[in-house]
Subunit: 760 residues, 2 copies
């Protein structure tokens, strides 16, 4: 479900490494010189087996019919892949789960009053998009896991529907209690919009795509250009995935036939109010009818109207949503190639295959790359090569409704994965542009080296060099954020490009955040025009051919990139991990959360002063009255000593480990090496805590999590950072201790490993 643009933007938004963390040049990580030479030869042969034309053919077939969860074509795609994997020599099977997946039965949206209007809720066929008329088996636009209902109420326009938007509305004296909110897509994850609306007492929620964000304001619209046409709708899930991912009825366990299930009513991740996504053609009459205060400047989109926030009784709407809430079967395709040296060390690769309608870009552009890699690896295997470690290739179902196929599989095989999984490598949508890579910092050096070895199709330099060029240009823009400038500086100085931290939005979530398996998410993007057809019927093969990756060269580049990561993880003489980026990341995040406390204090003091001096009320225009912001309860002092100490110990431990490990490489006894393997695969788990995050125990990772109020966007040191952001000071103090304890456990493990390495 990721938008690939968010992937490449992640390069700049993510972890900031100091130059001291070291450059990426040097010998191939995890390999002896002889091993590296063999690996390079293998990768050349792998590259030669890759074919853009082949992927193009699969993409056309697999996106030829609607392929959402439960559709005949979704199952057909799984069966097609099963046959292919088998034909390429993989040990393949389909694993089935039964999940709660609501599908709409009835939808209605009407504007009442003097200028009545009934929303079309329908995406029409357009010329030049051959599948856009083949929607007989498609579902109408909807958001999955909204609450169903039949409500009539006044409408309030809530901008992006994020917490700061509700603060702005409060200052305007507008409440959403009992109202239907109209939110626009953007700024935060879709699911937060109805969730926050519900928390503020709203009775219903509409979400529309404003042309400012992905419509005509950004470029010509489909089919003239690539962007969202007036009738285009963004579907999507609104399941509360930041509480737990996967089937809402089976948190923490696989949704097998006989799994113990919650009821729909007791599931924590389903909303209670009805919600619908709509097009801007459908939204405009509602916005035009809206009275009430003038919308604040940042609420204004690109429709040719005066945006107002409503709430004055001017515009009233009737919203009805009714769904079929039965269980549906899903089909994960799992293909295994056993490792010849360490069969119990698994390197897992995944991409989902279900879409919202035709899903050409999302997810099939990534899925056919995964298939192509599997085909090429199969071809290598036919020549006699076998991976040292076991390769697992998985094409997940039901990612769109809530990362369900991957999560149920990860939950069903949790024990085995925690014992065996070395890493999980994910992809999703892929199009033209820059490599985006997010993930565990232990894999950062590997990732930088791989990016340095893959040529960029448009420029001929490595994709790493192109990432650096982009980082430098972004950092030089007037008004660039400090973190963007920092990455630019790292890029200019030739340091390792930081991996952005993983939030959510694709299938890595269960692996990294629930199980503690080191993960990377990969994809190219930033030059295609995919945002405007995202999750609509126009995310089609024809659109992808014009605006995704017309030459399929970035499809090949992704196969080269993800394939190299897989092959190096599988064949390395010792697991290709370097750990100083982990401690550098933690130190940076710790600095950030401490700065956040100071910033909060400063802003509080300023706000209190302005409230005391009555500046807000005196500066206010009485004909457009605005309430002063509310003063905040004072910041409670936090003691960071334990975390400071743990972070410093971690820095020493990673430095000692990296030195000892690279010195030992090539001289390890067989016994030592065999003993190292599970240590390495379990290492990321040492960054998890059994109690999980506050209010969401499913999330075990203490360094990265999707934000409770960002949805997809990552929060680092989430237990501490989110508590500070929400002013839950005692929780922050508690999690300072939890994170410190977790880091100490990690350091402890490293220190013991160093002793055993030196004892060689």
């Amino acid at each position: 479900m990721s938008l690939s643009t968010s992937l490449f933007a992640g390069v700049a938004a993510g972890l900031m490494l100091t130059a001291a963390a070291g450059a990426s040049a040097g010998p191939m990580i995890g390999f002896t010189p002889q091993g590296a030479a063999t690996e390079q030869a293998l990768e050349s042969r792998f590259d030669q087996a890759l074919s853009g034309e082949e992927m193009k053919g699969w993409l056309e077939t697999m996106s030829s019919e609607p392929n959402h969860v439960g559709s005949p074509h979704d199952k057909a795609n799984a069966e097609l892949m099963l046959a292919k994997f088998k034909s390429w020599g993989w040990d393949a099977r389909i694993e089935t789960f039964d999940i709660l997946y609501p599908t709409p039965i009835a939808e209605k949206l009407e504007l009442l009053g003097s200028r009545p209007f009934t929303a079309a809720l329908h995406e029409t066929p357009v010329e030049g998009d051959r599948t856009s008329g083949k929607t007989a088996t498609a579902l109408p636009p909807y958001v999955a896991y909204q609450g169903d209902g039949d409500v009539t109420a006044d409408i309030v326009y809530v901008n992006y529907g994020m917490p700061e938007d509700y603060k702005a509305l409060e200052r305007l004296g507008v409440s959403v209690k009992g109202k239907i909110v109209l939110a626009r897509y953007g700024a935060g994850w879709r699911g937060l919009k109805p969730q926050l609306a519900e928390e503020h007492g709203a009775a219903g929620c509409l979400i529309f795509s404003d042309p400012a964000d992905d419509g005509y304001a950004t470029d010509d619209v489909w089919p003239k250009g690539g962007q969202r046409p007036p009738q285009g709708v963004q579907r999507g899930s609104v399941q509360k995935m930041m509480i737990y991912a996967g089937d809402p009825l089976t948190p923490g366990v696989g949704a097998t036939k006989d799994a113990k299930r919650l009821t729909r009513e007791t599931a924590q991740t389903i909303l209670h109010i009805p919600a619908l996504p709509i097009s801007y053609a459908d939204a405009q009459p509602f916005l035009e009818a809206m009275g009430g205060p003038l919308a604040p400047r940042n609420f204004r989109g690109a429709l040719p109207i005066t945006y107002r926030v409503g709430g004055a009784g001017a515009a009233s709407a009737h919203l009805l949503v009714k769904s079929d809430w039965s269980l549906k079967p899903i089909y994960d395709v799992i293909a295994v190639m056993k490792g010849k040296e360490y069969p119990d060390q698994w390197v897992v690769r995944g991409n989902h295959h279900d879409g919202w309608v035709f899903g050409a870009t999302d997810p099939l552009s990534g899925n056919v790359v995964l298939m192509e890699e599997a085909k090429a690896i199969g071809a290598l295997a036919r020549t006699g090569w076998r991976p040292k470690r076991t390769l697992v290739y998985a094409s997940w179902d039901a990612e769109e409704p809530g990362l369900i196929g991957s999560t149920e599989w990860a939950e069903a095989h949790a024990d085995e994965l925690q014992k065996k999984a070395v890493a999980y490598i994910n992809s999703d949508s892929n199009d033209r542009g820059y490599l985006g890579a997010e993930g565990s910092h232990s894999l950062q050096t590997l990732m930088n080296q791989v990016a340095g070895d893959v040529p960029d199709p448009e420029t001929g330099v490595s994709v790493a060099q192109r990432q650096r060029a982009l980082a430098e240009v972004e950092g030089a823009r007037p008004g660039a954020r400090e973190d963007v400038k920092l990455v630019a500086r790292i890029a200019a100085e030739g340091g390792e490009l930081p991996l952005a931290p993983l939030g959510s939005g694709s299938d890595y979530s269960a692996f990294i955040q629930h199980l503690g398996v080191a993960s990377i998410n990969l994809g190219f993007g930033g030059e295609g025009e995919m945002g405007g057809v995202y999750h609509s019927i126009y995310d089609s093969y024809d659109h992808y051919l014009r605006y995704g990756d017309p030459t399929f060269r970035y499809e090949v580049a992704l196969a080269q990139t993800a394939g190299r990561v897989m092959l190096r993880l599988a064949d390395a003489d010792a697991p290709p991990m370097r750990l100083q980026p982990v401690s550098a990341g933690v130190a940076h995040y710790l600095k950030e959360v401490k700065q956040l406390v100071e910033k909060t204090k400063t802003e509080d003091a300023q706000l209190s002063a302005l409230i005391a001096s009555k500046a807000y009320s005196l500066a206010d225009d009485p004909t457009h009255p605005t309430q002063p912001p509310q003063a905040e309860a004072p910041v409670v002092a936090l003691d960071f000593a334990a975390l400071d100490a743990a972070s410093e110990r971690l820095s020493r431990a990673t430095a000692a480990f990296d030195t000892a490990y690279s010195a030992a490489l090539g001289h390890l006894s067989r016994k030592q090496q065999a003993a190292l393997e599970p240590v390495m695969s379990g290492l990321e788990q040492a960054l998890t805590a059994p109690e999980g995050l506050p209010g969401r125990p499913w999330f075990h990772h203490m360094i990265y999590a999707p934000g409770m109020l960002t949805g997809y966007g990552a929060k680092t040191l989430p237990g501490v950072r989110e508590a500070i952001e929400s002013r839950r000071w005692s929780e922050a103090q508690t999690y300072i201790a939890v994170v410190a304890r977790t880091l100490d456990g990690y350091s402890d493990r490293l220190e013991k490993t160093v002793v055993s390495l030196k004892a060689q």
Copy 2:
């Protein structure tokens, strides 16, 4: 011609004073305690004579017909005022000049090609705006002093048409050579748009009002709301007023009957290419037809289209403008009340009376305030009071085409004014909101004290307190600029609010910048909705009643403010000037220009590095090609030593002067005081240099000027700053010396005065 909003915004954008410059509390500046008590009583009586109802009546009458230069109603308004001034006891007369004032005879604008369209170039009557149908004697929308012509060419959209927009177009590979440019209003002064277009080789220029800037995106449009309707057009002058203001044919001298005149061809301030202002209804078909590259993000307005920059031959236009270039008479109304103690010390007050059509807000809202002040002062005079110094009240004609009435008068009376004028106090448009004050820093303490004594009609606190509240709120906004935060800090700490420096855009220009007469520009604004009818037929009495100042209480407040400034300047026991704000201002501006050099070096280095690393070309999307920016010639080191020394000497001299002057106040011998008067009135002239600014010798002031590339916006230390901005390093070095010499002359004068004050 000022937009009142720019006035109040000036509070935040202007001079930054350190807290050390001193607070404004304390005794009334320039008055002994007894004098202050008398003055306060006088001001109470002045206030009591003010009537909003009276101003309302005059406003209705004076805005009832088109009153542009040369119209019968413009002359009638002058005659009405002459009669009023006389009836109030003033010695009044009309001074006439003959100026070049082009008026359109023929205009045509057509879109050629497959979707032909003829622009309406006409503003239609609307319901609820009673004068909007009374346009028989109005001129069609046009911009004065464009070049006339008849051209057919492709169109290029140049955003705001500012220098950085041309840089962006160059990077897109789009040239305007031989093309008609379409620019939108905003970001820089109107006249720069055709001027820069001409300098870039364009054949014609259209300027439209994008709804993003003052149309429906900002609020409902007239007559439903106050903002610009689709057919509304902003007229205006495009005369190059930053070369010299006033009649283009008589620079530096009054445009009297027998003045020596340039020809139209030799006048430096008239453009050569035809230009027309148009509405967004007229602009949209041209923008829709435009092909070529996608417009950069900051080029995008609020029309419901995809903005492109054109240049690809997709859209071609025919533009015709023909004007009558004859001389027209103008009518300045001058009213004098002779001072009883220092008749040769003049305190001058001005506002213009000509509008573009009905001119209710601009200028009549300010002009009726000036009339009301004169009436109230007349009433005081009838009770036996007389000002100590001479009061001159002037209502200027022909401000709109180029500050002409005030400039010709100032040039015609230059010698006398330089001998006698203590200060010039200007106003223009006025509406609801916050007091904006710009001007000479020697008058800053006076201005702060007056603002502290006038009650704000909406809140009851002083207008100064409301200014502070606004400054604090603006400074607390996320992302507030550093200078805005600095003013907020000063406001919060109770320091004197800095006067913003004077640029251009109203009648103070000839006084401060040409003659060196200390000046202030005053007006309320920021809460009215005047921007959307600015310079259109909808700037009407009906609009003002709804969106300007419906209760006329801000009209009264302006009369109270400007009246107090006039009365205190006229009646002070010694001229009410405090000079440490002057040296603090200079020191701050000097710091800024030095920082500008450093910033330029840093940016150059970054740009060179990015060009060297090929970052721009590697990061570029080949399907939307953009050229890398050009490297700049290296910064040449500047020696600021002379200016540093002059600035430090100035700080010492002003401190010594302020101390000696306030100590001496009340103890001055009559002879001493009489000797002081001309010193004080001439003091601001010591900040001028006879050679004027580079390329524009008419501008003598070395501390403030309108920017060559901002038009209205002020540049401080303009000779140095603009040379640095334009990388004319040797010119910058030359002007460092000129400014240093000028400041030394000022310090010299102060030091001598201190000696004479101490010798008492």
